[in-house]
C-alpha cells in the first residue's frame, strides 16, 4: 500500500475522469448516426487513453497517441465519406451491423479482459528513479528490436501505397481517370444529365456536379 501512495489524489481523480470519458465516448461511437461524428468520438476516446498513458509515465507514447489518432481519424472520416456515397457524412446512417456477432465478440472480450484484470498476478515493479521514458523507448526501438520495428514500418508503408493504388484505380463511375462525370445512358455515349445548352456554352464546369 505504501508503494502506491507516492502519487497524489489528483492523479486518481484524473484517471477516473479520463477512464469514464474513454468509455462513454467509445460507446457514443456506435450510438451516433454519422460517420464523421463516429470517427471523432473515437478520437476523443483515444485522446483520453493517451492522457491515461501520460499518467502512467509513458510520456512519449501518450503524446504520440494524440497526433497519430488526430491525423488517422481525420483521414478515416474523409475516406469513409468519399467511398460510402453519403454526402459529406451528413445524412443519418446506422453505425452498427452484424449485431449478433458483434455482441458476442464484445461480451467475450469483456469477460476475458475483465478476468485478466481481476485474476492475473501482476508483477510489482515500481518505476526506477531517474527513468527517462523517451530515451529508454528510443533505445528499445532502435537498439535490440530495430529489425522488427523497421520491417514492420516498411510493410506498413508498402500496404498504404498498395491500398492507395488499388482504391484510386477505380472511381465511382469507372476508371478514376473518368473524373466525376456520370456515365452515358448508352455505352460510350455522352455523360448523362448534361443539357444541350451547357455543351454549347463550354467552360463553366462547376454547374455539372449536382
Amino acid at each position: 500500500m505504501t508503494e502506491s501512495m507516492n502519487h497524489g489524489i489528483g492523479v486518481d481523480i484524473a484517471f477516473v475522469l479520463l477512464a469514464a470519458l474513454a468509455v462513454i465516448s467509445g460507446w457514443r461511437v456506435f450510438r451516433t448516426d454519422s460517420m464523421v461524428r463516429a470517427s471523432f468520438f473515437l478520437l476523443v476516446s483515444f485522446i483520453a487513453v493517451g492522457a491515461i498513458m501520460i499518467l502512467l509515465a509513458a510520456e512519449y507514447l501518450g503524446v504520440a497517441m494524440f497526433f497519430m489518432m488526430a491525423v488517422e481519424m481525420t483521414v478515416m472520416a474523409l475516406f469513409m465519406v468519399m467511398f460510402m456515397m453519403n454526402p459529406a457524412g451528413l445524412n443519418p446512417m446506422n453505425m452498427v451491423h452484424q449485431e449478433r456477432i458483434a455482441i458476442g465478440a464484445g461480451i467475450a472480450g469483456f469477460v476475458v479482459l475483465g478476468a485478466m484484470a481481476l485474476f492475473a498476478a501482476f508483477p510489482e515493479r515500481p518505476l526506477p528513479t531517474g527513468l527517462d521514458p523517451v530515451r529508454s523507448l528510443g533505445l528499445e526501438m532502435l537498439g535490440d528490436s530495430m529489425l522488427i520495428f523497421e520491417s514492420a514500418g516498411i510493410v506498413l508503408l508498402a500496404t498504404m501505397i498498395g491500398v492507395v493504388v488499388l482504391s484510386s484505380h477505380r472511381g465511382r463511375y469507372g476508371a478514376a481517370a473518368e473524373g466525376s462525370m456520370p456515365p452515358g445512358l448508352a455505352p460510350g455515349g455522352d455523360p448523362a444529365g448534361k443539357s444541350e445548352e451547357d455543351e454549347e456554352a463550354g467552360g463553366g464546369h462547376e454547374h455539372h456536379h449536382h
Binding site: G8, S34, V36, R37, F40, L43, E59, Y60, V63, A64, F66, F67, A70, V71, M73, T74, V75, A77, L78, A88, G89, L90, D132, P133, V134
Partner: protein
Amino acid sequence: MIVDQLILPLLMVLVTLSVGAYIVAVLDRLMAGAFGAPRGGNVWLAPLTRGAWLLTQHANATEAPDWRAWRLAPALYLALAAIGLAVMPWSASLVATDLVTSVVLWGSVEALATVVIFLHGWSANALLTLIGGYRYVALGLSYILISMFVLIGVALPAESLQFTQVVASQEGLWNVLRQPLGLPLFLIVGLGMTFWGPLDLADSTDLAGGTASEVSGPPRLVWDIARAAMLVAFSGVATTAFLGGWLGPWLPGPLWVIVKMLAVLSVLLLLGRWLPRLAPERCVTLMWVVLLPLSFLALVWAGAVALWE
C-alpha cells in the same frame, strides 16, 4: 502545491492568451494603416469595440447543424492555442508545464487543429463552410508534415524532445543560424494554420468566409480570438525553437522572450500583408512539391550539422 502547479500556470497561460490576442489585433491594424488601408477609429480601442459589438450580436443558426460540434470547435481551437502557450518556456524555470515531450505535444496541437477546423466547417451543415473544411484538411496535412520535419531538426542538437532543452542547446548558436531553412518554413506553416493573410484559404473571401461564413456573434468572437491566440502560440514556439528563447544579454529571460515574440509576430503579420495570394490547388502543389522537400533538406542539414558538431 495546488497554487504552484495549477493556479499560477493557468493564470500565466490565460494572461498570455488574452494580452497576446489583443496585441495581434492592434499590430495588424497598425500595419494595415501603414500599408494605406483606411483606418476606422482608434487603433487601440478598435479591437475592443469589435469584440463588444460581436458579443451583442445574434449568433447565426443554420438548418440542422451539429450544434455541439459547431459551438465547441472555436473553443477547442482556443484550447489548442492555450496548450501551445503552456509548453512554451519563459525562462529556464518559468514554464507552465515542462513536459519531457513538449515538442511532440506541440506537433499534436497542430494535428488536432486540423480536426477542429474541419469540424468547424463540417458541423454548420452549409455548403461553403464544408468546402472550407475540406480545403483545410487538404492543406493541413502538408502543414503538419513540414512543421514536424523542422521541429525534429531542432530536437536533434538538443538530444531531447523538451522545449527547455531545445533552448539550452542554442547557448552557443541559435537555431535560426544553425538551421537556416527551419524558421521560414515554420512561419509559413503558422500563417497557414491560423488562416492569416493570403494563406487564409479555409476562411477566404472566395468562399464568403469559408469555415466561418455562417458564424456570427459570440462564437465568431471566440473563433477570431482563437486564431489570434494560435498566431501568438506560433510566435512563442518559433522563439523557443529557433531564436534561443530566453537567451540574451542584459535583459532578464522573460523580457527577451517577449521581445522576440513581438518581433516574430510583426514578421508574421507583415508576411500576411506582403505574400501574394495563391489558388488553393496551386498552394497544395507548392506545399507538397516545394516546401515539403525543403523541409526534408532542412532535416538532413540539421542531422549533418549535429553529427559535425
